[in-house]
Amino acid sequence: MKKGDLKYLRNYIKIYYQGGFERIVENVKDPHRREWALLTYDNKMYRHIRLDKDNLTKFKDLVLEETPKGLYYSASYYQNPDEEMELKGRESTDLIFDLDADHMDNIRIKSVYMCVNKECRAFSFKNKCEKCGGETRNIPIIDDVTIFDATQKLKFLISILNTYLGIPDEYIKLYFSGHRGFHIHIEEEPYISLDDIDRIAIKDLLVLDGIDIFNVRDRNAYILDILLKNLESLLTIDDPELKMLLNRIKHILTEYDDPLKALRNMRVSEGSRRKLNEYIKKKIGVEVDPAVLTDLSRLIRAPLSLHGKTGLIKKDLEMDDIDNPMNIIEKSIPSKLMAKIHVEILPRIVWAGKEYGPYYMEDVILPEPLAIYLINLGLAKGIELP
């Protein structure tokens, strides 16, 4: 990133935290029992910070001084949040689900490609370098459409938490992460007392790790329940073998008196079994980040803090917001200012309800956070006020 761009970006962050820092801390449950941390633009990590009345101003000063690309707190509540990991004395841990759009199946994500050849580094819309013919690196660009698609999986996740795990809506705190997807925080007992082994089991349930639908022993099992509810979408597959197998399974599950025995006795090669189970996992599993869910020492971006890569806020959402997902990015914009910037390349995207691009090597005026996002992606430079 160019020096001038970094200076602009850090100033943008500073202005935001000057007015918004206190609100971030007030918004956190038991901030003094958590470890706080920040990551600077030169990748320096400040960790093991305890927040209390005495050092709140000092911490704010540090944030304003460092203008971090990420402000974090621990998912865990500790006795001694400022000690080294092993001495912190963990008491409980928020149950947090992180759902990223680029890990999901069937999501529309715009991309540009950058040549990996150091001598070339040309951008293009194709995955083969148009200038030197070399390999390229994919640079995904998240826009309203991506977020719209991602909310479908988010709704599915929330329905599992509600309907199956019985976690009430009022316990589910929902956030747009400020970048690629969503975070769900659950901060209530008994869920915060779950240990890492319990969380791994929940991860297995969501991701469907290790499923074998030919070996189910209860016809009302969760896996068969969601399989039946999603059969029509599973049947949209092109692979003739898997399609045939799925049709057979549909027939067995809906028509047979003893479907479990029929499933067990189905003649299917080991390879096809594995392929089908993998396909089901990919389509109806929820691709939550396993590390965020199961690692009890995890730091998580603080709600209402700025995402350094996008200049957007990690914004709290209401359940109604996910019914209008095209507004989510717009709701997360901290500044209505516009910025002038030189864009190297950008396909047509829909961002905060408006269309931008396609641009190729041109100076344009964009909303400040979009300009910051493009700088961070390496797709633009030379930001300045118009």
């Binding site: 092993e86 089991a201 074998d212 329940d225 199961t294």
Partner: protein, 341 residues
């Protein structure tokens, strides 16, 4: 002394760990000296423990004196605590839970539910899926099913609704047995001081009767000591390869516990991390010593299982992992070592 009917003692003999039985014991207000006046009681307790260590089982005889059976259980807890051997502890808990499992299999539904509820299993009886099912609050299900390694205990193979996981009677009994094991373990740990007389007798008993039956864990049955990186599992090879470019906290933790388990010394482990430009020996030493239980909470951490490594996102299972269904990184080393012999 309160009026106690034999039915209460029968319950207490069968389920001495239960809340109701503990209340009964308290209501009897017996001192340890009063109990030890009957020399046969302690003798019978030692005999049962000897049988458990030798055979691994404990029979249930419904016509035995229920009061004696009940008191003997509590004497056995004191003896097991006095012996301070995790092998004896485990064998005792296993044998007892197997016996209870058999008794439970013959019990009526309402007895099972009552016992479970006393042990903290939150439940719901439901006709949701046609038949009567017991729904167990999913958090309790996770807590008590974690040691059941069969893949059929994976949560998605059960009906789930509104936070409850529905199980059949047979499965409920299995979970109940697990809850009972935890409870007995908790009772053993709750003994703060073993009376001197029982402590002395237990030591003698160990030397005279038990020591020859306790296996020596120094046999090379599970020998995983090696420094041959070639036979390390792929996750550990990955961690070793990437030490220089930075590892996540769980990956570093796994690497340290693994290297220690296969025989690396503390200094050797610290040296392995001495490849990064920002290597700080003091911090690394501090962290390694914590993980090895040398400082801090003095807990010597175990090598995480494959399931945990998968969730930490650095499982790179190879053919050996898949073919042998490896569930633990040390099992991989053990298998590879064995095949090299």
């Amino acid at each position: 002394m309160p009026i106690v009917i034999d039915e209460d003692f029968e319950w207490a003999a069968k389920y001495p760990f239960d809340k109701k039985s503990i209340q009964l014991l308290q209501s009897l207000s017996l001192s340890i000296n009063e109990i030890l006046e009957d020399k046969e009681l302690l003798k019978e307790a030692f005999k049962e423990i000897e049988d458990i260590i030798k055979k691994g089982t404990l029979e249930w005889n419904p016509i035995e004196n229920h009061y004696r059976k009940f008191i003997i259980f509590y004497l056995e807890l004191l003896i097991v605590r006095a012996l301070e051997s995790s092998y004896i502890e485990n064998r005792f808990i296993e044998a007892l839970s197997k016996r209870i499992y058999k008794i439970l299999s013959r019990e009526a539904f309402d007895v099972l539910v009552k016992l479970g509820s006393n042990l903290g299993l939150r439940y719901k009886i439901d006709q949701y899926f046609g038949d009567t099912h017991i729904g167990i609050f999913f958090i309790d299900f996770l807590r008590f099913s974690r040691r059941l390694s069969s893949r059929h205990w994976r949560i998605y193979y059960f009906p789930i609704r509104d936070g409850y996981i529905y199980v059949k009677k047979r499965q409920y009994i299995r979970l109940l047995s697990e809850a009972i094991k935890s409870k007995i373990y908790e009772l053993i740990l709750s003994v703060e001081k073993v009376p001197d007389y029982i402590l002395e007798e237990s030591k003698k008993f160990y030397i005279d009767k038990l020591s020859i039956h306790i296996p020596k864990h120094t046999s090379n049955k599970f020998d995983v000591k090696t420094k041959d990186i070639e036979i390390f599992p792929p996750c550990i090879k990955y961690a070793l390869k990437n030490v220089g470019s930075g590892l996540s906290h769980p990956a570093r933790f796994t690497l340290v516990t693994f290297l220690n388990a296969v025989g690396y010394t503390k200094e050797e482990i610290i040296n392995i991390f001495n490849v990064t430009p920002d290597f700080n020996e003091k911090v690394t030493r501090y962290q390694v010593e914590h993980i090895l239980g040398i400082r801090g909470g003095k807990i010597r951490y175990k090598v995480p299982s494959c399931r945990k490594i998968v969730s930490y996102n650095f499982c790179y299972a190879d053919d050996t992992c898949k073919r042998f269904g490896i569930l633990h990184p040390l099992k991989y080393v053990y298998l590879k070592k064995r095949s090299k012999r």
